[in-house]
């Protein structure tokens, strides 16, 4: 039987406010255990939460970017359950009135656009972190993470394949990065993706039994786990079996999902409105202020890059992958560099240099104006493109401008025909055998001769001029 997969995603992202969502503690990730804590996030007796306004701002920004309706009036609720990583034994979350509702995100897979419904995005607080490796039969709780602001983004069951899951998560991550809302570091746990997977016969209207995949530590892991899970559902059903509703983990080494927890009778979290916090009223003016402050989002920027700079769809996608990369490109173009050349240099040599030194473009030692300056030297014939590669490497290593390097090292291109002819004649004289071969029809040796001239000029020969003069000399009898 032919099946179709039905997948919904629940993504938790830590929002990168400086302080926690209900107290003034730092949200820094790598502090020693229990150093970013205070009576509020430790759930001491008598403390009260105060909602971080920046969290509301960032949530509304994400909501708008995901085409959500922003609730004019929403509230926080208490979600009650007992666990040692939960200081108050209730989590302050949003239950029936999330701040953002009914949005969508358009994703692209194999050139086709699919619209994924966003059910809701709501604010809550992160829990502490339990460790069971401290020894002595004891467990430890690190409350540094307790109270870090979390945004939970829930989709409709609109995704149909692992590729769509990958595209959705990539797009979502990109948007969150563009909004400077989250670090989205899935390895460090600042982005946690859970997939609800079920399959049904093609054409069926009802949903199959779903399983929930949790605790996957990478984007590719999530995709692989979904792929595996879809295949497993199909296999089980084809063999006449039934799917058990449960939570499953992902074993990355063995490449398979495994049962973690059977669904007990549905949890009762005894939700009720948080009486310690006032309702959250985001009026039109507040929403408008945030809307006006939104940056150009990835999809819009991508298509503008194609239109405005004449870039291919592929290049535009790569250059808009992160906001910093796109900003860098536009700054370089704004300094007068030809956009296509700038794009090639950034995606090629510059990216290679960054990758080699494991550096983010935000920390790039070559500023956009410096890169534009280097491209200008190629444009006006001062240096060749080949020399440009070396110059860029030098710029990256020293932070000097292209012109300074070219002048200091005497790398200016030889564009004087007479000067070049003298070198060429010398090469012809020193390589009679190759010259003879060329003249008898083996035109491939031309490359060798060009190489010899370049070597003799330390690469400074203007390539086109070199070609012209060399050919002219070889044709002479």
């Amino acid at each position: 039987m032919a099946y179709e997969a039905v997948i919904g995603m629940e993504v938790h992202v830590e929002i990168n406010t400086r302080s926690k969502v209900f107290c003034a503690c730092s949200t820094a990730f790598d502090a020693p255990p229990n150093t970013n804590v205070c009576p509020v996030c430790l759930g001491m007796p008598g403390v009260l939460p105060v909602l971080n306004r920046e969290m509301v701002n960032k949530t509304v920004a994400v909501g708008l970017a995901l085409n959500c309706r922003i609730s004019r009036w929403s509230k926080m609720d208490r979600k009650n359950y007992f666990y040692p990583d939960l200081a108050k034994n209730y989590q302050i979350s949003q239950y029936d009135l999330p701040l953002c509702q009914e949005g969508f995100l358009d994703i692209e897979v194999d050139g086709a656009t699919r619209r994924i419904g966003i059910t809701r995005a709501h604010m809550e607080e992160d829990t502490a972190r339990n460790t069971h490796s401290i020894g002595g039969g004891q467990s430890g709780v690190d409350f540094n993470r307790a109270g870090v602001p979390l945004l939970e983004i829930v989709t409709e069951p609109d995704l149909r394949s692992a590729d769509e899951v990958y595209a959705y998560l990539t797009m979502l991550k990109q948007i969150l990065e563009y909004l400077d809302a989250s670090d989205c570091n899935i390895e460090e746990g600042s982005l946690r993706a859970e997939a609800n997977v079920s399959v049904r016969p093609v054409g069926a209207q009802t949903l199959g039994v779903k399983t929930e995949i949790k605790n996957v530590a990478s984007l590719h892991g999530v995709t692989k786990a979904v792929e595996y899970e879809i295949a497993r559902h199909v296999r089980v059903l084809d063999e006449g079996g039934t799917i058990t509703q449960e939570t499953r983990g992902w074993d990355a080494d063995r490449g398979l999902t495994f049962s973690q927890r059977q669904k007990e009778s549905a949890h009762d979290y005894h939700y009720f409105p948080e009486p310690d916090l006032a309702p959250i009223v985001v009026d039109e003016a507040w929403e408008q202020r945030i809307r006006e402050g939104l940056p150009e989002l990835p999809a819009a920027r991508r298509s503008r890059f194609s239109d405005q700079y004449g870039l291919s769809t592929y290049d535009a996608a790569i250059l808009t992958a992160t906001r910093a990369m796109a900003d860098y490109f536009e700054a370089t173009a704004a300094c007068g560099a030809d956009p296509k050349q700038a794009a090639n240099w950034i995606m090629g040599d510059l990216q290679a240099l960054l990758t080699l030194s494991a550096m983010d473009i935000r920390a790039c030692p070559v500023q956009p104006d410096a890169l534009a300056g280097m491209i200008a030297l190629i444009d006006d014939g001062t240096i060749s493109g080949k020399i440009g590669k070396d110059v860029l490497g030098e710029m990256f290593a020293t932070g000097k401008t292209a012109r300074a390097i070219v002048e200091a090292k005497g790398l200016t291109q030889i564009s004087d025909a007479d000067a070049l002819r003298a070198v060429i004649l010398e090469v012809i004289e020193k390589n009679p055998a190759q010259v003879e071969q060329y003249r008898s029809g083996k035109e491939k040796v031309l490359g060798f001769l060009v190489g010899q001239v370049m070597r003799a000029t330390q690469g400074k020969a203007n390539p086109r001029l070199l070609n012209d003069v060399l050919l002219a000399e070889l044709r002479k009898p």
Partner: protein, 486 residues
């Protein structure tokens, strides 16, 4: 000299006139505590050394000619559930035995900044759940007027200590009458300010949407002085109101002419004990003689107040008290081997029966399938109760009635039946549900020598009207004297 018999405003005057030093006053009160505590048992902790140090600091500031604050040298004691760095904060519960708070409640900080001298902490019903202080895990507190009777609750220690002159005034907390009812039973003035007037930061929560800190004082002027220091917006409490705080002493002597006093039909029923009714009615009549206009009003949803209250407060309490789990602080059962055991055994061993009853009730009313029938319905009724008051306050400026249906009752009289106990708060509960200010002041003694309280309820943030009317009552009827303590 016996400074302990004086009111706070008399002490402030004495200190400013250099008739008394803060240390002399503190010593006088500490001596009084030593003398009468065996009879009253209001204190859970007495901070003798730190009180004398604080008093010495006040004296030093005065000697240097500095402003030592509006309550300079006034000895104050605190309900056991207010967080203090000094001493312990146990909420009179075994589950917090020995617990030391890392911070001071905002109200405590304000008292300290105002120059008050903190004497120690006072007994209460465990986690403020009760109306007689019999639910304390620490001790029984006796009514200074009659050692066979309860002081009321939950702020029983706060009321008894003021009545017994063991402090100039005290702080209590009021969730459904926990300041006003013990104030009535012990013969002092007790005010629950409007919800949001006083920061709740550092008040260990029982029911967050109802709790409010307030003073218990020897007279109405002291109540105004205490409010001047306690009230005000606190950025640490999102429910604290950002509204201007007047000088509450200014309007005390206002005229009664034209003041409309509402008497709710539903409060003067057969349930009301004869003597309580007599004293309340006599006081109200006296107000009328001074020019106040009496009007009957109706609060038709009053009969649902107790039921509504016990759904709302237990629901909130079930979550508020969840944090006492033995993981980070407080009592952890030593024999618990597993995580579940740790929770169950620590809570079962740490909480008293009334607290457990309310946690279970609250958990029940929030459980799925029952939420709409109980919690949601209660919230709707709460709105109706609030509307009753809104309507009444279109016709009157203040509502008057009894604080408690009976005077102080005997130990054990109501412990067997929780419902009977719950009904002691029948007149005080609506005020919390409607977030109004409420005040109780003594208006007479019964034949057997027990105080009777008159309750005044006002519009939100109109504590001034309550104080003005209360002050007039006090002048008209005179004090009720001092309890018969040796």
């Amino acid at each position: 000299m016996a400074w302990y018999g004086k009111t706070a405003h008399e002490l402030i005057e004495a200190v400013s006139q250099r008739q008394a030093s803060a240390v002399e006053i503190a010593e006088s009160y500490l001596g009084r505590i030593e003398a009468v505590e065996p009879r009253v048992d209001a204190f859970t902790q007495v901070w003798r050394d730190s009180a004398l140090e604080q008093a010495a600091r006040v004296d030093a500031r005065i000697a240097r000619g500095e402003n030592a604050g509006p309550l300079a040298g006034v000895p104050v004691a605190l309900k056991e559930l207010l967080c203090t760095v000094e001493g312990e904060t146990t909420c009179a519960s075994r589950i917090l035995a020995g617990f030391r708070s890392p911070y001071d409640a905002t109200a405590v900080q304000r008292l300290k900044a105002a120059g008050a001298v903190l004497l120690g902490k006072l007994n209460m019903d465990e986690f403020a759940m009760g109306s007689s202080t019999e639910n304390s895990a620490i001790k029984l507190t006796r009514n200074p007027w009659n050692p066979e009777c309860v002081p009321g609750g939950s702020s029983g220690g706060s009321a008894a200590a003021v009545a017994a002159d063991e402090c100039a005034f005290s702080l209590g907390s009021d969730t459904g009458g926990s300041i006003r009812q013990p104030a009535a039973l012990c013969g002092c003035v007790g005010m629950k300010p409007t919800y949001g007037r006083v920061s709740r930061f550092g008040l260990v929560a029982f029911a967050s949407s109802l709790d409010q800190i307030g003073p218990l004082t020897k007279d109405v002027r002291d109540c105004a002085l205490a409010l001047n220091v306690l009230c005000g917006h606190d950025p640490m409490d999102s429910t604290s109101a950002d509204v201007p705080v007047p000088d509450f002493t200014r309007g005390l002597d206002g005229d009664m002419r034209g003041v409309r006093v509402g008497l709710p039909r539903e409060f003067f029923t057969d349930a009301l004990s004869g003597e309580v009714r007599e004293h309340v009615e006599a006081t109200v009549k006296a107000l009328e003689a001074r020019g106040a206009e009496l009007r009957e009003v109706s609060l038709p949803h009053s009969e649902y107040a107790v039921a509504t209250y016990y759904i709302v407060c237990t629901a909130e309490a079930s979550a508020n008290l969840a944090r006492f789990d033995g993981v980070r602080y407080g009592f952890r059962h030593p024999e618990a081997k597993t995580m579940l055991d740790m929770y169950v055994m620590s809570k079962t061993g740490g909480f008293g029966p009334e607290v457990q009853r309310r946690i279970l009730l609250g958990t029940y009313v929030l459980s799925s399938g029952y939420y709409d029938a109980y919690y949601l319905k209660a919230q709707q009724v709460r709105t109706l109760i609030k509307r009753d008051f809104d309507r009444a306050f279109e016709q009157v400026d203040v509502i008057a009635g009894p604080t408690s249906p009976t005077p102080a009752f005997r130990f054990g009289e109501k412990t067997a039946d929780p419902l009977t106990m719950y009904l002691s708060d029948i007149y005080t509960i609506s005020c919390n549900l409607a977030a109004l200010p409420g005040l109780s002041l003594p208006c007479g003694l019964t034949a057997s020598g027990l105080p009777v309280g008159l309750q005044l309820l006002g519009r939100p943030f109109d504590e001034e009207m309550l104080l003005r009317v209360a002050h007039c009552c006090e002048q008209l009827r005179g004090g009720i004297g001092k309890p018969p303590l040796a």
